[in-house]
Symmetry: C2
Subunit: 362 residues, 2 copies
């Protein structure tokens, strides 16, 4: 494998060709595919709960091929009126906290109760290896074969913004397909939590007993976003440590400002092995739903998330239109060698391309 050594995630927009920065990986993704269904065929399949068609529609949404964008957009628009009827739960925690086993334990309880659960992941993949830390879903052995569960790993090869947009759209499709609980999991160490927070109703932070905040790499900002803290692995010799951690975090949370939702953040312990406390996590989430629907915050948050989608769509489309413009493509190709040879600064070159783009729209 060739090591390009310069991560290109920031500037490789999915489906936006930038002559000098498209990684070989993205290019290989543009393989020939089977002819697509029509938008209505996708919609009918999704509404009928057909998982093969749901998966194909998600793949269409994730496609980096610009030719697929219009169809994908149509499918999303058509599915939108059928979406919204789920509880969307973000789940985060550092690697090692036992996220997969927790999701499996809670997920199995939900599907046993008759819920339909979709598990999505947000994990911008590593630039060089393109490997996704959450890509390996084989650990969720029971859920993976559960007819009431649908597991979809993070789309690969995209920027965080790209992954976020695709995941928002995937939520719409999953809801239209009848999933009434959506888990969006992410690794609790960076910006992806902020992004997940913008697309879920409830945000769950899993913590380990014993390890200090520092060791866990959990930022204060992530703790502040959580609607509940759950100390995992509260079994065997670890129960006392977990209870101790619970007291500590409860005290710490008292120092945090009141949440706009009016919700008091609970701290619980749980074990995915003995199932201790797993049921209670769901009770907490349902209690939150009830309380925030009563005080309208639930709807307020969803509305704000629509505004987020609005800005996000504009930002993306603005760039897409620009980089697909033939005059822009042509000039970028000409200017890049001049930037490289130092004949022009990147700022001057950028100004030039923008100027040309604007006047070509006259």
């Amino acid at each position: 494998m060739k090591n390009t050594h310069l991560p290109s995630a920031l500037h490789v927009m999915e489906g936006v060709e930038q002559p000098d920065s498209v990684s070989p990986y993205l290019k290989t993704k543009k393989i020939a595919r089977k002819p697509h269904l029509s938008a209505d065929e996708y919609l009918q399949g999704i509404l009928a709960g057909n998982r093969v068609i749901l998966s194909q529609a998600i793949t269409l949404i994730e496609s980096v091929n610009p030719k697929h964008h219009e169809l994908a957009q149509q499918v999303i628009e058509k599915a939108l009126p059928y979406s919204g009827n789920s509880l969307r739960v973000g789940i985060t925690g550092v690697p090692g906290v036992g996220k997969s086993t927790f999701i499996e334990a809670l997920g199995k309880q939900l599907t046993t109760k008759g819920h339909h659960l979709a598990v999505l992941a947000i994990d911008p993949s590593s630039e060089r290896s393109k490997g996704s830390i959450l890509g390996d879903k084989t650990r969720m052995e029971d859920l993976a074969v559960d007819p009431n569960a649908f597991i979809r790993p993070s789309p690969s090869g995209l920027t965080l913004g790209g992954v976020a947009r695709k995941t928002r759209e995937t939520i719409i499709l999953c809801e239209a397909a009848g999933f009434d609980v959506i888990f969006v999991e992410t690794v609790g160490v960076g910006q992806s939590e902020t992004v997940v927070k913008t697309m879920v109703d409830f945000f769950l932070l899993l913590m380990l007993a014993g390890a200090g905040d520092e060791l866990q790499g959990i930022k204060r900002g992530i703790m502040e976003m959580a609607d509940a803290l759950i100390i995992t692995k509260a079994d065997g010799d670890n129960i006392i440590a977990a209870q101790h951690a619970r007291s500590l975090y409860l005290s710490a949370l008292r120092l945090f400002p009141q949440m706009e939702s009016g919700w008091s953040v609970p701290v619980n312990v749980c074990s995915s092995v003995t199932k201790l406390g797993v049921d209670q996590v769901w009770e907490i989430i349902k209690e939150y739903e009830k309380s925030t629907k009563e005080n309208q915050y639930f709807y307020h948050q969803r509305t704000e998330q629509l505004i987020r989608i609005f800005y996000d769509w504009i930002d993306h489309t603005l760039k897409e239109n620009f980089y697909h413009h033939p005059v822009v493509k042509e000039h970028i190709e000409k200017l890049i060698p001049e930037i490289k040879s130092g004949k022009i600064t990147p700022y001057q070159a950028g100004g030039l391309v923008l100027q040309i783009y604007q006047s070509s729209n006259l």
Copy 2:
């Protein structure tokens, strides 16, 4: 403090007013300031090594007030020809690895040798508290008062992309001010490493002995980007564990693909307390510089980074022009209530604004 509960980092572009998503924090940043110097006065001050003017120029670059952008851009353009004459070193590692003490130990050795060192930080601050994990520079007590060192925390209130752009520009100013070594530190847990990698010559990963990869929250992708791995805290009882970790990582690295730079990634141990191995880290960096200048990779990487700046500048300016357009502002204000009330989908509303923007440019 009011908890807005919806992180707005993704869509609050610095200096770009989006009627419904500008956080109160950003608004308070637009305080009245003293009259600014001219671009030439800034440049002269920077070239003379005047730290007060350098700091003011960086503050100008970081300003979210659109009125400051043109002047900031002029200062950067003017400083650009005087930049480039430094070794740019990225330093990362999870919280707890001892980054600050390491930077202090290595930094003091460099300034003692007569180097001029600038330490910058990349750490997108938490949305709710606006606190920066790296903001507390009081730990670098010696460097903070060292006349040959300049420490600048991460700009706050910006997105990762915003922080990255400002830091690239700050590097230019620091180099023009005569700093010949630039450290860019970041917390080794997320996307910010990918960003730092795009602006430095050498990327150093600090690791703890004993803790597994999982516990350290270090992703494979970050390890793959490193030009050297340094096991910290190799003192006292920890020396043997550090040596053991060194062997482990050396074996692990053998499985990684060859780097495009042709460089073999060394793994060393070091102690910021006993200073064991601190000198060698600098020798490694100098050896890397020599080797990659010989095979031209050093220059190749810098050139590629210019292309990155080019795309980054375009992406940012495209959005800025759009959101500052009076017709756009007006229509966004009108459409947001309609999105909220469900009269129009965010996608339809986005399409409408883009259409209006394009036709208003006719």
